[in-house]
């Protein structure tokens, strides 16, 4: 239980926010930040822990979003059920793409390329297929009832996404402390050595990708409920693939809280950009791309890495201090 204490504390603290403020601006900001944190946590499992960098996580986000949206709009399925089906759909897409890619032995740049391509294919299909509304997009009808997963105020949305994020934090922590997690990290470090130790690296990667896709798809489902409108560019667009990897990298790739920290930073940057230069399209992504390059260049382990380094330095300073105060030796 001790290992989950930080997660519980952070989640509890965050849960008090709606009690402290009723500002829609703040709540909206946090809801979107938590959404990106969830999506980023999905990427983090496969990319941070597993070392397989996907450039097409939009494929899972969009599948979750469209699954729940289409089920509600065209088949009258309940939105909560839609959430579960959307997560399952995302997981399935992840399993398929993973099976195809890992069976073929794709890794590194080739893997990134193929995930990018899959996401683009889905985007194009969604932009022309009648069931997704083609170019017009899909609108979920306003139906402000909790049973329909829609709420008058932002606070319930906030708590729901917070629960989802909290669950993802717990899940990642559990994986960290498990054989699956040990195998995943081992194959990231050295796939051959891992295989020589009995790790079925293809299966481990596939499982990681499936779980990763499920987590990201949950984010997509939530997006659909919160904004009630999606189109091909929103659901499967590069913006979400970029934010999915940016958040964990900024916050600390391969760590439990990395995506959450990073998402807060990413969204803060986005808001600052908007404040300073208005809503011009593209500028936020310019900032994100630049930050990505800067982080890789100067702080590849992200904020968590910086904090760990600081702590390390403080600890060694404290160790050195008593010796130097003990007077000089010949």
């Amino acid at each position: 239980m001790r290992t989950f204490a930080p997660i519980l504390i952070v989640t509890a603290l965050l849960a008090t926010v709606p009690a402290i403020t009723s500002s829609n601006v703040v709540l909206n900001f946090l809801v979107v930040a938590l959404l990106i944190a969830l999506v980023g946590q999905g990427w983090n499992l496969l990319g941070g822990y597993g070392g397989q960098y996907s450039f097409g996580h939009a494929a899972f986000f969009g599948t979750g979003a469209y699954a729940t949206a289409i089920l509600q709009v065209h088949y009258g399925i309940n939105a909560w059920l839609g959430l579960f089906i959307g997560i399952a759909a995302g997981a399935l897409v992840g399993a398929v793409i993973g099976a195809l890619s890992f069976r073929s032995g794709l890794k590194g740049s080739y893997f990134a390329l193929v995930t990018l391509a899959f996401a683009e294919v889905l985007r194009i299909i969604a932009s022309v297929a009648p069931i997704t509304g083609a170019g017009v997009g899909t609108l979920i009808k306003l139906d402000l009832r909790p049973e329909a997963f829609q709420f008058q105020s932002r606070a319930p949305f906030y708590w729901i996404i917070l629960v989802l994020v909290g669950l993802s934090l717990v899940l990642i922590r559990m994986i960290e402390d498990s054989r699956f997690g040990a195998y995943l990290v081992a194959l990231r470090e050295n796939e051959d050595a891992a295989q020589a130790l009995g790790v079925n690296t293809t299966m481990v990667k596939l499982l990681a990708m499936t779980i990763s896709a499920a987590i990201t798809a949950a984010g997509g489902c939530f997006y659909a409920q919160y904004f009630l409108f999606i189109d091909a560019g929103i659901a499967y667009g590069p913006w979400i693939s970029v934010e999915a990897l940016l958040a964990p990298i900024i916050g600390g790739i391969g760590t439990v809280f990395g995506p959450l920290l990073g998402a807060l930073v990413v969204k803060t940057l986005g808001e600052l950009t908007k404040l300073m230069t208005g809503d011009a399209p593209g500028l936020d992504l310019v900032i994100y791309g630049s930050v990505l390059i800067l982080v890789i260049a100067f702080a590849p382990r992200g904020i968590t890495g910086i904090l760990l380094d600081l702590r390390h330095r403080l600890v060694s300073l404290r160790r050195a201090a008593p010796a130097s105060m003990g007077g000089g030796h010949g």
Partner: protein
């Protein structure tokens, strides 16, 4: 006669036009230390890679514990009890020594705590007990070699393939490693070792196979191999054996 634990039968390996291995055969009796020696480029590591499942042979088969395991993937062979170390050590650099070894220990222990505990035991066997919580990246070459060994031992193998486990060590480090290898053998683990450090081969191996240009050119007990003119020629070049013989008689 007892069936050897490992039988490599007439294994050939072609890379494009290059014949890296030419009907190489060897056997490793259970519970013994068998050495595979030969000049650089002979194909020793290629043979190990094939035995350990990292590459399929072009011809021939690998028989382990009576079963034909040719072409099985590495992780499957590991589960059968074949462990290998790599010539160029490959630690999991961001993990601690304990976490490194635990990856191997997990093979038979699903629970994290069990694997970490077992890792500690294995570490002490190879003398890494003091360094358990250090990052693997901070180890010296000798430390990394021991880590490589410990990881392989953690999967509780019956056959251990050591690829130049003594390379890069200074004489005192080599002296420290030898008893560890003996201990492993005494536990009943069959060892096949590729080695260039001749003193180790002489004192550890009970049987030696010599590979040169992809072919097994000699086999036998270490003393016999040392004097075999074919082996001398393989290492020192054509005519070297007779030259040495001539020089030998010159110093009556």
């Amino acid at each position: 006669m007892v069936e050897p634990l490992l039988r490599v039968e007439q294994v050939s390996k072609r890379f494009g036009g290059l014949l890296a291995l030419d009907r190489a055969s060897l056997l490793a009796p259970a519970g013994r230390i068998t050495a595979l020696i030969g000049p650089n480029g002979a194909g020793k590591t290629t043979l190990f890679s094939i035995i350990a499942g990292f590459a399929p042979p072009s011809e021939g088969r690998i028989v382990y514990d009576g079963a034909d395991v040719t072409g099985e993937p590495p992780h499957r062979l590991a589960r059968r009890g074949i462990a290998r170390t790599f010539q160029i050590v490959q630690p999991f650099t961001t993990l601690t020594v304990r976490e490194n070894i635990a990856v191997g220990a997990h093979l038979s222990r699903p629970a994290r705590a069990d694997a970490l505990a077992a890792a500690g035991d294995v570490a002490r066997t190879v003398g890494l007990g003091e360094l358990l919580d250090r990052p693997a990246a901070t180890l010296t070459v000798a430390g990394r070699k021991r880590l490589e060994l410990a990881r392989a031992l953690a999967i509780e193998p019956r056959l251990l393939l050591l690829d130049e486990v003594l390379a890069g060590l200074n004489p005192s480090e080599i002296r420290d490693m030898m008893p560890i290898i003996h201990t492993i053998r005494d536990r009943g683990i069959t060892i096949v070792m590729i080695e260039h450090v001749m003193q180790a081969v002489m004192s550890l191996a009970e049987h030696v196979f010599v590979l040169s240009e992809g072919r097994i050119i000699a086999e036998g007990p270490p003393q016999a191999i040392a004097g075999d003119p074919r082996v001398v020629e393989a290492y020192l070049g054509h005519g070297a054996a007779s030259r040495m013989l001539a020089e030998g008689t010159g110093h009556a």
